[in-house]
């Protein structure tokens, strides 16, 4: 990780217009991604992680979705206002994505070779034969045995873990600067999860790829991310270097998340901690801290106003009235 910022997300707002009202799935998200950095985005399901990252490459289904505000600057150029023809040259090439469910993310009707080669040919201008050789090489790197043979098979002939390896190989085949991985292991068996995470860690380090790692489980990202953003109800409520965040979580929600990670030194008879209550419905949310109904330290002001960010040193911020002088 270096100091060079390659992606800046500024006050991003993505809303869905549904019959019941406006779903503010992402409501003012800001973060920076540095060259080679691994950034984790953590939050319960429904907190807006996937929508954030689909917004980054401007792939929100419209209707019902609309990016209502903000900027996504990739090397200073706003991806949100870029013409489609231009952003397509970035998707899959400079910024690529891996999705949660490897069983449905590959096209079942096309051979793996077709799906890998089309990306390489499109972005690297190679002829099909060279592109296929490159694809085989990527599969090998991703730990697929006998890749020369496997590449001509169809996705259903691979197991879930193997398919996710194919996805990883495919997404890294154009040597992207940024890899966005949306819960890449959530659909896999626990034993395979660790293998896939190791593979991603290894490959991204080798290729110098910056990674945005989305997950609902802190345990998954703890060992892998340089920086963490904790998301709640469409907003980032706390951000900081992983070590600092684990050592001293500030937001009550982050504290709860960390307490609910299963630990090896815990007696198995202890009940695993879980945050009480349910995440809020983000339709027509009033201006308040959306976490207050579940928060043990909630104060009066929490119900009336959303707190601004309080900075702790260079890289840490938290949005909580406990640390906000305005609230005192």
């Amino acid at each position: 990780m270096t100091d060079e910022v390659i992606l800046q997300v500024k006050d991003l707002k993505t809303y869905f217009h549904v019959d019941e009202g406006i779903v503010k799935a992402v409501d003012g998200v800001t973060f920076d991604l540095h060259k080679g950095e691994t950034l984790g985005i953590v939050g319960e399901s429904g907190s807006g992680k996937s929508v954030t990252n689909l917004s980054v490459i401007n792939m929100i289904p419209d209707p019902p979705g609309k990016i209502a505000g903000g900027q996504v600057l990739y090397h200073g150029k706003d991806l949100l206002t870029m013409p489609q023809a231009e952003i397509r040259k970035i998707r899959g090439n400079k910024v690529s994505m891996i999705f949660q469910d490897p069983m449905t993310s590959l096209n079942p009707f096309l051979r793996v070779s077709t799906q890998m080669v089309e990306t390489i040919v499109l972005h690297q201008g190679l002829d099909e034969k060279t592109a296929k050789a490159k694809a085989v090489e990527m599969l090998k790197m991703a730990g697929i045995p006998a890749p020369e043979k496997r590449i001509d098979q169809y996705p259903h002939q691979f197991s879930g873990g193997m398919r996710q390896r194919v996805m990883i190989a495919m997404s890294l085949s154009c040597n992207p600067e940024i890899l966005i991985a949306d819960e890449p292991t959530s659909a896999l068996d626990v034993t395979i999860q660790a293998q896939i995470l190791d593979l991603m860690k290894d490959l991204s380090a080798r290729l110098g790829t910056a990674v945005i790692m989305i997950t609902h489980s802190l345990g998954v990202v703890a060992g892998m991310c340089d920086t963490l953003c904790v998301m709640y109800a469409g907003r980032i409520v706390e951000r900081g270097p992983t070590d600092a965040l684990f050592a001293e979580p500030k937001h009550p929600y982050t504290q709860g998340l960390i307490k609910s990670v299963p630990r090896l030194d815990q007696a198995s008879s202890d009940r695993l901690f879980s945050i009480r209550g349910q995440p809020p419905n983000v339709i027509d949310l009033p201006d308040c801290c959306p976490f207050y109904p579940r928060c043990d330290k909630a104060m009066d002001i929490c119900k009336r106003k959303y707190p601004g960010a309080t900075a702790f040193g260079k890289n840490r911020t938290v949005n909580c009235w406990l640390y906000n002088s305005e609230g005192k």
């Binding site: 899959g92 096209n107 079942p108 009707f109 096309l110 990306t119």
Partner: protein
């Protein structure tokens, strides 16, 4: 794959056997018979007729004899059209119905897919609304209404096409247009709706999201990643559609005075013309069974997940 085709083909034999057997006995046991017309025949005449058509034999003997003849491709003499064999009657009229049905099916498929794909890509725009309202008409208005309306508009008012007749007549191929449109219209409408729905579903799928995230152009996404999967439901529908078109042909042949099998089919049923009914049933079934066989094979080619074991 070859093994699958052979096995699938062999499985057609028992299917056909069951169809032939069931219809043989169902028809025989239906009330009435070929000689119970309005005119009451003298007992002696009936006796002679029964003898001539081997109907004085026990049922199982008649059945075995019939089965043997059918295997040799002989459907026997017609009970009603005394001068013709069933083979001749079917041979004269059936090709006409097949031509009409095939053209109708081709129209339904090509136009249906075109409109379906177009509507899906223009979802909720005026083109989509127009096409889908049109499709609702196609599905809900029966052929015996659509046919005369087309005759009125394109033949009697505009004089573009003949009112009735067949391609062997003076009008030539022009005579095919209106009956084929009438016959194919409901299937066109259904295929348009079916393909629209299935394209919209595939467009929302994870693998299409992956294709877009790879930076592929919308054209490549549609042609390479969407169409194949979206076509599968349409392919499965070809079998039933063909069956529907072939039976629907009876109505259209009446309206447009087409010399197809429809005319003699209705008559043969009313006349209890045992051999002719059986011949028609067997030819129809063969056709439908063969069609489904073809559809299965095409489906297998399109969907790699189908294992040929």
């Amino acid at each position: 794959m070859t093994k699958f085709i052979i096995r699938r083909f062999l499985s057609l034999i028992p299917t056909m056997f069951v169809i032939v057997t069931l219809s043989f006995f169902l028809i025989r046991f239906a009330p009435g018979g070929p000689f119970s017309g309005e005119k009451v025949l003298p007992e002696q005449v009936i006796q002679n007729l029964m003898k001539k058509y081997h109907m004085d034999q026990p049922m199982y003997k008649q059945y075995l004899e019939y089965l043997g003849n059918v295997l040799r491709g002989d459907f026997g003499p017609s009970f009603r059209y005394k001068e013709s064999t069933v083979n001749e009657l079917i041979g004269e009229s059936f090709p006409t119905s097949i031509i009409l049905g095939s053209v109708a099916l081709a129209f339904a498929l090509v136009a249906g897919l075109g409109v379906g794909v177009g509507s899906a890509l223009k979802q909720n725009k005026w083109q989509d609304y127009t096409a889908m309202s049109f499709a609702v008409i196609g599905i809900s208005v029966p052929m015996f209404v659509v046919g005369p309306v087309l005759q009125l508009a394109f033949a009697m008012k505009l004089h573009w096409l003949p009112v009735t007749g067949w391609i062997t007549g003076r009008a030539g191929l022009a005579a095919l247009v209106l009956p084929a449109l009438t016959l194919g219209f409901p299937y066109f409408a259904y295929i348009a709706r079916l393909s629209r729905a299935s394209i919209l579903e595939v467009l929302r799928s994870d693998y299409v999201r992956t294709a877009r995230a790879k930076g592929l152009s919308e054209r490549v996404v549609i042609w390479r990643h969407v169409l194949k999967g979206a076509l599968l439901p349409v392919v499965s529908y070809i079998g039933p559609a063909f069956a529907g078109i072939i039976t629907g042909s009876l109505v259209v042949e009446q309206v447009f005075v087409v010399p197809g099998i429809g005319q003699i089919f209705v008559q043969s049923a009313l006349n209890r013309d045992y051999t002719l009914i059986m011949g028609e049933v067997i030819v129809y079934s063969l056709l439908l069974v063969a069609m489904n066989f073809l559809v299965d094979i095409v489906y297998g080619f399109l969907d790699p997940r189908i294992a040929y074991k």
